[in-house]
């Protein structure tokens, strides 16, 4: 046990040294012999990906950059649906060409390189925390613009031609429902609200729209916002081919409105504003009611994800108080599902 712990610590130290060395080589190759790395700092301790911030000084220029790297430089898919970092970098480049605000990619490292599987992108100034974006005075002029800006960004993402894209997983609404139902059954914690939501979703599934590139996690938390509005769309690791309504509905799920439930889009905007900008920018005509089914699926998915996170406590793999506590957030998605099902069954 002590020896294993020792090895783990050595491996971690090796990781930071390895990154610093590989970044130094990259900085010289990219910015010339005077390129020097400083301020290397780990930002997140995610199990699926490492995120590091650093600067490269070259002459009078200071370049503020982000490194996204597979843990230990070795790709281990967090889940069957997470794409690799090389593919994520390709998507960022494609999205930029389609006019979607994304951080410019500055470098890509293949698996097996000195760095390990990773890419470098510009660090974009702005805020990602949902509560701050919805509350702080700095964003008072940004908030009314965000819904239309999200509509245009999504239209851009959904317009990218499939032949210009790498191979990605495909999933439509019903296949996602099937997948999450299987997870829920496996956890074996019976919740009648989830049963009713699954039953309703199966009986009301809409006809699929033509398949597009779907971001897969388009919501507050993954959007960088400054005082002018949306400046970057981050975290493309759940990108897949699917139904465009999935992305539009995910940003509407009440869990991502951070208490501002009256504004259906992310707690900041109205859905017609997003949809008008979306179709004006070339997306298909979609009505607010077309989003209902997908928003219901979204709340169900987030509820089952909370269950999965609690399951990691229950199974003993992550005994933290935070993993235990998240099991008591499942009921948040249940009230959202009840509110939705009540409205939707009254509409008919």
């Amino acid at each position: 046990m002590a020896r294993l712990l020792f090895l783990a610590i050595v491996a971690k130290m090796g990781s930071a040294d390895q990154i610093e060395t590989a970044l130094g080589d990259w900085a010289k190759a990219t910015f010339g012999p005077h390129g020097a790395v400083s301020g290397l700092q780990r930002l997140s301790g995610g199990a699926s990906q490492e995120t590091w911030a650093f600067e490269v000084h070259a002459g009078n220029d200071e370049n503020r950059l982000i490194l996204r790297r597979a843990p230990g430089g070795v790709s281990v898919a967090r889940s069957s649906e997470a794409i690799g970092l090389g593919i994520e970098a390709k998507l960022l480049e494609r999205a930029a060409l389609a006019g979607v605000p994304v951080p410019p990619v500055e470098g890509v490292f293949a698996a097996g390189s000195d760095m390990g599987e990773a890419f470098i992108m510009r660090r974009i100034a702005g805020e990602t925390l949902g509560r701050r974006i919805l509350r702080d005075a700095a964003f008072v002029e940004a908030r009314p613009k965000l819904a239309a800006q999200c509509g245009r960004a999504l239209a851009g993402i959904h317009s990218i031609d499939r032949k210009d894209l790498p191979d990605l997983p495909s999933s439509d609404g019903l296949s996602q429902l099937e997948k999450y139902e299987a997870i829920y059954r496996g956890v074996d914690l019976p919740r009648p609200v989830f049963e009713l939501a699954m039953s309703w979703l199966k009986r009301h599934a809409p006809e699929p729209l033509p398949t597009v590139l779907v971001h897969g996690d388009f919501r507050l938390g993954n959007l960088i916002v400054d005082e002018s509005g949306l400046v970057s769309v981050l975290d493309w690791e759940l990108a897949h081919f699917g139904d465009p309504r999935e992305d539009i509905a995910w940003v509407c799920v009440n869990s991502w409105r951070f208490g501002h439930r009256d504004k259906r889009v992310g707690g900041f905007g109205d859905l017609p504003d997003l949809l008008d900008a979306y179709s004006a920018a070339g997306g298909p005509m979609i009505r607010p009611r077309d989003i209902d089914w997908w928003e219901t699926l979204g709340s169900l998915k987030w509820g089952i994800m909370c269950m999965i996170m609690y399951q990691s406590y229950r199974s003993g793999s992550d005994p933290s108080v935070e993993r235990a506590a998240i099991g008591r957030r499942v009921s948040e998605t249940e009230i959202d599902l009840v509110n939705l099902l009540e409205r939707l069954s009254a509409d008919v």
Partner: protein, 127 residues
């Protein structure tokens, strides 16, 4: 056995210790987990105070919805209700089902996350 201090008093004492003594000494991840720990104790206190009455009403409603003849515990009744919904014997048009789920979820959320925005939106059904 005796109260004084009661269960709730003991938990409140630990919660106050975390909030007023321990948490201010912590930073980073440890401070975050201390906040979570304090919130968990809040959940436990609310559960001790609210669950018995809420669950008794839930049990009555579940007996009626599932047509259970003899008295069963809430976990078994919920499992049965899940089966009935999955089989299609009950759905959102079934009298009393949505109202029951709404009451149960309001009670659960009042324990779990009483400040969640969706709770404010949900108007309790008329009993």
């Amino acid at each position: 056995m005796y109260d004084g201090p009661s269960t709730v008093e003991l938990i409140e004492a630990v919660k106050r210790f975390i909030d007023e003594r321990a948490a201010p000494e912590l930073s980073g991840h440890a401070a975050f987990h201390a906040r979570v720990a304090s919130n968990v104790l809040g959940t436990v206190i609310r559960e001790l105070q609210q669950r018995p009455a809420a669950e008794a009403k839930e049990q009555d409603r579940l007996m009626a919805l599932t047509g259970a003849g003899d008295e069963q515990d809430v976990a078994s009744l919920n499992r049965r209700l899940c089966e009935l919904i999955r089989e299609g014997a009950l759905d959102e048009r079934s009298p009393g089902l949505l109202a029951h789920l709404k009451s149960t979820t309001i009670d659960q959320l009042s324990v779990d996350q009483p400040n969640y925005s969706g709770l404010a939106q949900a108007v309790p059904p008329q009993a």
